[in-house]
Symmetry: C2
DNA sequence: GCGCTTCGTCGAAGCGCTTCGATGGATCCG
DNA sequence: CGGATCCATCGAAGCGCTTCGACGAAGCGC
């Protein structure tokens, strides 16, 4: 079977503990000895047995991401975060695993966390009052939030600055001369529930418009292409002179294009479209190069992991981070049409 | 800190090993003793320490799914498989974790598998000649494939019967009177690479058409909405009397709708559209109730896990399974128009 | 050149669990 | 009613690693 540390020690003619120190660097090891150990490890194809290490060191060297697998249509945005987290974990010599959990029922999390198979957990899509946090902390694991609760306290959290994102969107369109700018947000239900991103985006939009003396026109919209299509149809019926549309709704986006085309509005000649918090990969699915605000996906993941590591090292949790989206101007926004 | 088995034993006034047997059921335990142990566990909130258990039993009781997080736009189809796998694992008292890996570079897998943090691995989106299999098996882990290699040998594999799916699609349209039926497949590149699903679907389509004396018209198409749009435009330009379109391309699907509408073809009055191997959740994003062949997602995941468990229990690997898609007739297919 | 620290190494004690062999009492059968 | 059998339980030996204390050999200052 697989080689153990004792096998390596025997082959290198040193004691077991010396091999351990060579690996961890917690005590100095002679240069020549180190070489012998390293070649012995290479020869035997040695890899530390994770369970044994975890048991002895009281550290699993594993971080988990609670990954919502139920009811997620688009994976790209989530996956950017995971990719960033995986890279950060690897850099710190931790493994990253994903725990497939339902975001609503925390039992599975309890199961996984209780067994202490990870040192810390990153919670994605955190709700205002998220029961998962208590589950993770009761199990004695560190916890980091992507998004944040009503009062994140001294938890590690990383969020997107949605207010700023809407400010950027409105500013971009206003610079181009637009004044009748609508905002297609996510669903009314999430707005009613007070879900952070949706509420803060709404507020950001309203402030940005008010600051410029413009009339806000926000419409909620379910997260599906047909809903996006209907939202635009309604919008054009109510306020025909709309020239700018801001969409923060990945799936509705795909309905928006069709509805505008059908209505005979050319993009960006008649109407400019800008997408908010849409992953680059999703933006590429649009029918033409889309002007969009890219979320800081990988950075979110990386920060969450680094925060977790800080806490695990006994340092105080770093302050929560509200990261900005980055505007990419492509071809769906242009000068406002003249009347 | 967290309670250990010794704490439970002390509280229940039995020996440590008796607690272990009560938990595992590997030896009988007196009814009364069992009650004492169980209430002690409840009182202390005891949960087995996974690492200790893994070390002692040489079994981690964890199964992993190699989860492609890079370059996946739509998560729903993958997630159905994961959800099925998670349920099957839980039923067998195994935990399921996802290993976020790139499907092209197997180094991460090597890292994860080498540490023996799982007993078996499910590989998703298996290529014809997949280097990951060797990585997993060299590490001494069991391995199950979703999809299959050129010659799956006696590996555990679970695949979708794409030939049957195309036969079903053609049959459905022909029953409705269609004769000019096009097939929008996935990319030319994957066809050239001989990627199983794409090749078998192509073959299935050609056979189904040939068997009915119909002229096949298959077009490759990149996996993006705009590509789907262009594919339909080209199709209509080349063969204007097309009345049926079969699409096995989740993202292109969204371009298809727009292109047909633009071309003034009404669905299903002028053209019927049927989607192949599209998850229910994705089908719901279509602008109207879509006729589609649902892939056996959860069943695939569950079979892969059960196969893995068989192998781990020392049984021979069950025969590979080629699972059928299930036709759901909704509103995008209808009788062929009369000339 | 004497005590000091520092370096490089070793041995041994666990980490929390599973599992094997042993033990002692109850049950069974001829 | 004595030996065989079964049931319920215990103690102890690890699983493969980390880490602590110990120890000889250098290297240091004065």
């Amino acid at each position: 079977m697989a080689a153990t540390m004792q096998d390596v020690a025997d082959l290198a003619q040193v004691s077991l503990s010396t091999v351990s120190y060579a690996l961890s660097g917690k005590r100095p090891v002679g240069a020549e000895t180190r070489v012998r150990i390293e070649s012995a490890m290479a020869e035997l194809g040695f890899r530390r047995h994770a369970a044994a290490r975890a048991l002895a060191s009281r550290r699993t060297h594993v971080l988990a991401v609670a990954y919502p697998v139920y009811g997620v249509a688009l994976g790209a945005t989530l996956n950017e975060i995971v990719a960033g987290a995986a890279a950060a974990a690897r850099a710190a010599e931790y493994e990253l695993v994903l725990w497939p959990v339902s975001s609503v029922e925390p039992e599975m999390l309890h199961e996984l966390a209780g067994q202490r198979t990870a040192d810390g957990v990153v919670l994605m899509e955190v709700a205002l009052d998220d029961p998962r946090i208590a589950v993770v902390e009761t199990a004695g694991l560190a916890c980091a939030l992507i998004g944040r609760t009503e009062d994140p306290g001294d938890h590690v959290w990383v969020d997107i600055d949605f207010e700023d994102a809407l400010e950027q969107s409105v500013a971009h369109l206003v610079e181009l001369g637009h004044r009748d700018i609508a905002f297609i947000n996510r669903s009314q239900a999430s707005l009613d529930a007070g879900y952070g991103p949706v509420v803060r985006a709404q507020r950001g939009y309203e402030r940005a418009m008010a600051a410029r003396g413009l009339r806000p026109l926000a419409v909620p919209c379910d997260v599906t292409p047909p809903a996006g299509r209907r939202a635009v149809q309604r919008l054009l019926a109510d306020v025909p002179d709309i020239t700018g549309v801001i969409v923060m709704n990945e799936l509705a986006l795909f309905g928006v294009a069709g509805a505008l085309r059908e209505a005979g509005r050319s993009v960006p000649r008649d109407v400019s479209v800008i997408a908010v918090a849409v992953a680059h990969e999703i933006s590429e699915m649009y029918e033409r190069p889309l002007t969009y605000l890219a979320p800081p996906g990988p950075e979110q993941g990386a920060r969450a992991i680094r925060g977790l590591l800080e806490v695990l090292d006994g340092h105080p949790a770093p302050a929560g981070a509200n990261l900005p989206c980055v505007l990419h101007v492509r071809e769906t926004t242009g000068p406002a049409p003249r009347h």
